[in-house]
């Protein structure tokens, strides 16, 4: 008999306690990268974390957090990570993985100084050093801290060996550009009525899932590329990436994430049935042309029906293709003869598709225009065109200043957003790559973190004043993210 799922009122206790601990501990850990030991903010974060740790020790006797692959275990029970806490857990996981630390244990109540010792030790560890845990152990022993123990990250799958961020970037780039090539192949195969190599698509989407589970920011950054080769190929790959990233945040399991990627990749296959003259027409479309454009969801579903045996994957792919223009309130197209709720995958692809389509370059704008305005439109239309919960998750994922946004800072510097912080409290304080103008173009400058405080710790050093149109500056933001 399966365990009953925890209800809202009687939340699974290990999840509740584990989540509280991870949230506070992660915030403290991140704080150490910005503030020194004596900073008041560190004191506050330490106290908050301490309260949680000692509270758990009092009620449970001990606190043991262990990471196994991408799962968290609190006192040997798996934590059920919820969608709203996903970002924190993901970020924490990345921090710990970088340091090869897989276990943290508190066997009795601890003091503030002891906790600070631990977090500053962890914070200062060398990346990718498998022996880090030994070093921390020794240091804790040296300081007579007996109630805290750390352990090595035990299990590590070989295909996820890209700890190094350059390796990760390289892997993600490979996945991205190979996927572009694949979509091109698929379209050509459809046009020539040849058999499709679904297997290759599966391999690529599985790799995409691996990459996004490791670190979504690289592939999400690459999704800023909108016009590499044909738009259609680019768009399909971008939708797949956004869909997988969004799906991961709401807890879709790994295998189904790869299906979601496939669904995104193939969602617009029906457009292969529309003459290019209509697809690329610049003038007004006639009613017949409109009708043809609107037929592509059905055509897409039919193509998938033909190319793949009925099963889990084809059902999902067909739903994505058929539903991605239906809208949340079913006022989209095709017009249904019988109202029904759209599938989760369909709703995810709808959001990913809309966002990517809206930010693509237009004829007089050579480069994409990424802006919080797009997210504002989506928020406005949520409940009508989009699933409201999914829109929120998407905004959290993309950030209010998405990757690749060109921003103006209060220091009169320009920069491009290169990394979003997982903590929703700091979602408007991303990492930014400053731009330097020389020899007639903008080039990469220093990378800065907008969470950084001025001396004295009263104000942030830099703040985003507004977003800018990259076309006005002849900047292709994607170039700064590849």
């Amino acid at each position: 008999m399966p365990e009953e799922k925890p209800t809202l009122d009687h939340e699974h206790l290990p999840t509740k306690l584990g989540t509280e601990f991870v949230t506070k501990f992660y915030r403290l850990l991140k704080g150490t990268t910005v503030y020194d030991r004596k900073n008041a903010i560190i004191d506050r974060l330490t106290q908050e974390c301490l309260q949680v740790i000692n509270g758990i020790i009092q009620s449970e006797g001990h606190l043991f957090l262990k990471i196994v692959r991408d799962n968290f275990f609190f006192n040997n029970i798996r934590i059920l990570v919820k969608a709203d806490k996903y970002p924190i857990f993901k970020a924490f996981w990345q921090e710990m993985k970088r340091r090869w630390i897989g276990e943290v244990e508190f066997s009795s109540e601890v003091k503030g100084d002891q906790l600070k010792d631990l977090v500053y030790l962890l914070s200062g560890l060398e990346e990718n050093n498998e022996s880090n845990y030994l070093y921390v152990k020794k240091q804790l022993e040296f300081r007579n801290i007996e109630s805290i123990h750390v352990g090595k990250l035990e299990f590590f799958k070989d295909e996820e060996i890209y700890i190094d961020s350059e390796d990760r970037k390289k892997y993600s780039k490979e996945v991205y550009f190979k996927s572009l090539g694949l979509v091109k192949e698929v379209v050509e195969s459809i046009n020539q009525q040849k058999a499709l190599n679904i297997r290759k698509a599966k391999r690529l989407m599985q790799n995409a899932v691996n990459a996004i589970m490791q670190d979504e920011s690289t592939l999400l950054g690459l999704a800023n590329i909108k016009n590499y080769d044909e738009y259609t190929f680019n768009h399909s790959v971008n939708v797949a990436i956004y869909a997988i990233a969004l799906g991961q945040r709401i807890g879709i399991p790994k295998k189904e994430l790869s299906h979601l990627g496939m669904t995104g990749l193939f969602h617009d296959m029906g457009k292969t049935r529309i003459p290019k003259e209509i697809l690329n027409k610049t003038g007004k479309l006639s009613p017949e042309e409109w009708s043809m454009m609107r037929s592509h969801p059905i055509a897409g579903a039919e193509l998938i029906m033909r190319m793949k045996e009925w099963g889990e994957l084809s059902t999902r792919m067909m739903s994505g293709a058929f539903e991605h223009h239906l809208r949340y309130d079913l006022t989209g197209y095709p017009k249904l003869t019988r109202k029904k709720k759209t599938t989760l995958f369909g709703r995810i692809v709808t959001i990913a598709d809309f966002y990517d389509a809206l930010v693509r370059p237009r004829v007089y704008n050579r480069y994409p225009y990424v802006s919080e305005k797009i997210l504002g439109i989506m928020l406005e239309r949520s409940g009508k065109d989009f699933d409201p919960s999914l829109v929120k998750v998407f905004i959290n994922m993309i950030g209010v200043f998405p990757l690749g946004t060109l921003v103006l800072l209060n220091t009169n510097e320009m920069g491009i957003v290169t990394q979003i912080h997982e903590d929703t409290e700091l979602i408007d304080r991303p990492k930014v790559c400053l731009l330097q103008y020389s020899d007639g173009e903008y080039r990469k400058g220093q990378a800065v973190d907008l969470r950084e405080m001025e001396e004295g710790g009263q104000h942030f050093k830099r703040t985003i004043v507004k977003t800018l149109d990259p076309n006005e500056y002849n900047i292709n933001v994607a170039e700064f993210l590849i």
Binding site: F155, N280, M293, H325
Partner: protein, 588 residues
Amino acid sequence: MPDEVSLDKKAPDLTLEMPLPEGSETDEELILARDLTSAFIKAIKAFRFYPPDNPTLKGFRDQLLKKFQFFLNKYQTFVLQVGEYDLSFKNRILYENKDVKTSLAFSLYKDGLREIRFMKGIEEWEVQGVIDILKHSETINALEDDIVTLMWEKDFMHISYLATDEFLEETPVIIPDNVDQFRRNLVFKPLAHHVEVELAEEGSEEGIDLDEILSKVIEEPLPFVSDRSVYSLSADEVEGLRKEVESEVDPVFIFNITDTLFEILALEKETEPFQDAVKILIKVLDAFLTLGEFTKASELLKRVYIILKTYDLQDWQVEGIGKIIIEAGEEIRVERIGKVLEREEVLLEHVSAYLSLLQKNAIKPLIKLLGELKNSKVRRVFCDALSEIGKNHIELFTPFIEDRRWYLVRNIVYILGRIGKEQAFPYVQKAFNHEENRVRREAVQALGLIGGPKAIGLLVRALTDNDVRIRCMTAINLGKVGKKTGLIPLLEVVQTKDFYKREPVEIKAFFNAIGMVGSNEAVPVLQQLLERKSWFGRGKSDEIHIGAANTLAVIGTPEARAILEEGKNSKDESIREACTQALKSQSV
């Protein structure tokens, strides 16, 4: 794989004291690795060779798991390098086979696998999972899957691998290393209408002006930048998403495809995709039947009927969609229903509802299955359904009226009776002379339902059947349908000298039958019987007196009542009592 995983739950350790396998190597680890590899290969071969339900297979798997656990407990990991035709461990070849058709190494290598790593803590389901993938490696559809995709999907905790994708590239893909390379491939094409189509309102042919939307410059930061509550998930939303994900990964979600397929049928005007949709709907129906989901199967068929009735379809579309209903009644599907009924408890009303939606092509397979069903309630459901489906196709039942299985013949007669048409008479007549009593009884019932002069004629003959139950049933049925034609033979029987010797149940049946006819013509005979004195003792007279009195009461005409009133004052106690009771029963 269990959803909730606790680190405390581990597979039972099957390792015992293991004898060291003999070999020419002195390195213990290598010896054990060789032995483990051999067990691994053997297990895969066994799973390929034996049928899945063979009990030997469990032994192979358990043995393999034992060896894995022993090795991994000692050495933590077991890493096999995959060569084109060989498997190596620490650069020593442990397995080699150059026959591409049978070589396990080759089947792994060609799918890009270069290394497989097994780790301590490996569980039974993981060993079984790997075996399941590898045993089918030769039959994997290479356009859809390979060993790597299947292993990835399994998401093993203690098995990992290294794989290359290079072999998949027919033409190498250029990955830009620098900005210049990147810029070279950028394409700047004119505006396409995708987004306008997305944003346009229903019925609008004009599209919308994206610039207009985007140019609404907002001076202040957008609300959601400063007001985080706008994009923070509430507890309800979090829970809602969790439930959505749960139902999305539930295997039955694949039936969601049904709605899409019906929409395609409604919207599609081309034959090929239309037929593709029909084919998949038939598969969906198959799946419903296999799972015993008769309600869902009924809904599917009902939707088909609705489309046929309400949509404006061309002939080829009607034929295409109609195929679904025809296929529903094919033997292979009906057999499937039989298997479900054998193995599990299902709500019979759901089965009944489904069967009644089938068409005449289902009659023969349903009858075939009917002959095999053991449960009488299920048989009844089938019979009732067949009488519905077959009401205009009596001829389809007739080949079975001479089946050697009397119980099937009885069922057919039951069905023909329920259909109740005179066309069935010749076939019921055949059953009427069946050697088996139970068939003849059913025939009598059927004749009663069919009615008509021919049926009555046969029923009259049955009044003299050897079997008392048949005679009783005949009497009752004659009473129902015989009217005056039936009345005379009934009266003749009750007037026979030996009638009083018959079983009380038969006496009662005849009198009831006369009562059912309700004719005044019976009154004189009934009076006679009522007033007849018994020569053979009180007991027997009572039955006749009671029967006659009750029948007069049922007839209820003034003449009949007068006789009863008179009888109330009879000197004969039995007559008096019978009449009094009969009058009482009518006044209640």
